[in-house]
Amino acid sequence: MSNKPLPVVDYLKIPDDGDPYLEGHKCGSCGAMFLGERKVCSKCGARDQMQAVTLSNRGKLYSYSIVYRSFPGIDVPYISAVIDLDDGATLKGNLINVEPDPANIEFDMPVEVVFDDALGRKDRDGNSYISYFFQPAS
């Protein structure tokens, strides 16, 4: 078991001496943005031109759903949100600190990325995890 919480996905980075951040990989040839490491750009086919970039912690809500029925053990309702970050990356995640009602959710509402424990979920070895969430921008 790790002494430190682990990142929930490989594009969430937890430096030893700083705050967690999200990392994108940008094609040096066409500018397409990806999550996670890769060698080839699936937009233009360029090889070995991917550059790691730190993603913005701010963005806007592009689309969403309010999930009322999920798999056993998953707390509902919650807002599944598709967020366009300010620098061109798109991520999906939970939109938190908003009542899950369409009346409270507007397209393009500004949001910020926050990092927190992954809802208490642990893996088989007992490791805890850090995840990312979105909340209305302060």
Binding site: A32, K43, Y62, V67, S70, I74, S80, F107
Partner: protein, 380 residues
């Protein structure tokens, strides 16, 4: 190249058959399709079989073990919800290429109940409900609300799709359900993933459908041209790169690309199409595809459903079978069941739900991940 014709096609009534095996369910429609054209398994030169649940299970061969082991080549196909259409297209391609003159395509699925999708894979901890949702109702809800953000499409617009398709299915004895669902019933049903209520989600059912495809020469030799339906276009696309497609599976671009290619191949346009069976896996999805298939201009889908243009008797009836929402969606069978539906109308054999005077019809499926299959059929 020769033209290829559907000479025999049928489906079983969709339902739940836990007591049967997948090959048994598939064999039923294979026999029905043979009976539809009066041919035998000995007349088939190849079999193309679509199934997802047992993709590594040699389902096509096991169907032949039920209905006749003639030693013909069997190709087993798996392509998400485009599986049936892909099997049909492979069969069509083999005839077009001149490899064979008479082949069969079968699609079959045994589904069980419950949610499909989810983002629980990979290492570490489950991601569902932590990094949003990967369940199919949520994914297609997000795709629907993308349309809402562009054009103001409402929950009610989406719900009307379900009212229409459930109404259509009351006229289709092979649909899983024949139950009217008024608008308030649809909108007040259990919310699964806003804006998709339970009645706006396709029904998980077991089912199969099969088609016999012949070259023009063979169809004429066999005297089968009278009820034959010509395949005017067969197209399969994958999802071209889109900026959000890593997190938001894109059902639009691959459909638009496939529709463009299909109209070009057929030498036809949307105005020539008399009916459409399209991929209404969720009510939100159907709205998107009116525009993706060119049935109306961008932003007009809400008006299309409001005005009844897509209902039986309207300008361009969509999913008169009841669609995936009420006929049911046995994944591997759906693409060929669509071929059955359109062929029935073109032959004038669709009974109470007959689209009067139908000469040209279109089928469309989307397999998320993504694959889009479109066929245009014509009665000559």
């Amino acid at each position: 190249m020769t033209d290829a014709y559907v000479v025999g096609v049928d489906m079983i009534k969709f339902g739940r058959f836990p007591e049967k095996t997948v090959p048994e369910i598939g064999a039923e429609s294979a026999l029905l399709a043979l009976d539809d054209c009066g041919l035998t398994i000995q007349d088939m030169e190849a079999l193309y079989c679509g199934n997802l649940g047992q993709a590594s299970g040699m389902v096509g061969q096991r169907i032949l073990q039920q209905i006749g082991q003639t030693g013909i080549p069997v190709v087993n196909v798996s392509n998400a919800c485009a599986t049936g259409a892909t099997a049909f297209r492979e069969a069509w391609a083999s005839v077009k290429a001149g490899l064979y003159d008479c082949v069969m395509a079968v699609g079959v699925e045994q589904m069980g109940k419950g949610l499909l999708g989810g983002s629980g894979g990979g290492t570490g901890i489950p991601k569902e409900g932590l990094l949003g949702s990967g369940t199919m109702p949520a994914v297609f809800a997000e795709a629907g609300l993308e349309h809402s953000r562009k054009y103001g499409t409402t929950f009610e617009h989406f719900a009307k799709v379900s009212v229409k398709n459930h109404h259509h299915s009351t006229l289709n004895p092979k649909a899983m359900y024949q139950i009217e669902t008024p608008l308030d019933t649809v909108m007040n049903a259990e919310m699964i993933s806003y804006p998709n209520t339970k009645l706006m989600c396709s029904v998980n059912v077991d089912g199969s459908a099969a088609a016999v495809i012949c070259s023009e020469k063979k169809a004429k030799e066999l005297g089968l041209m009278g009820r034959a339906v010509k395949v005017r276009a067969s197209v399969l696309t994958s999802d071209p790169w889109q900026e959000r497609d890593l997190v938001m599976p894109d059902v639009n671009s691959c459909t638009r690309l496939a529709a463009k290619q299909a109209y070009e191949m057929a030498g036809l346009g949307p105005d020539d199409i008399d009916l459409v069976e399209l991929h209404d896996c969720f009510a939100t999805a159907e709205i998107l595809h009116y525009e993706n298939l060119g049935l109306c201009g961008d932003g007009e889908a809400g008006r299309m459903i409001d005005d009844g243009e897509v209902a039986l008797g309207g300008r361009i009836p969509v999913n008169v079978s009841g669609g995936l929402l009420s006929k049911g969606h046995p994944l591997g069978a759906t693409g060929i069941a669509n071929i059955y539906e359109v062929t029935s109308h073109l032959r004038g054999e669709a009974g109470a739900r007959q689209v009067q005077g139908a000469r040209v019809g279109m089928t469309h499926v989307i397999g998320l991940g993504s694959a889009c299959g479109i066929h245009i059929l014509e009665k000559v």
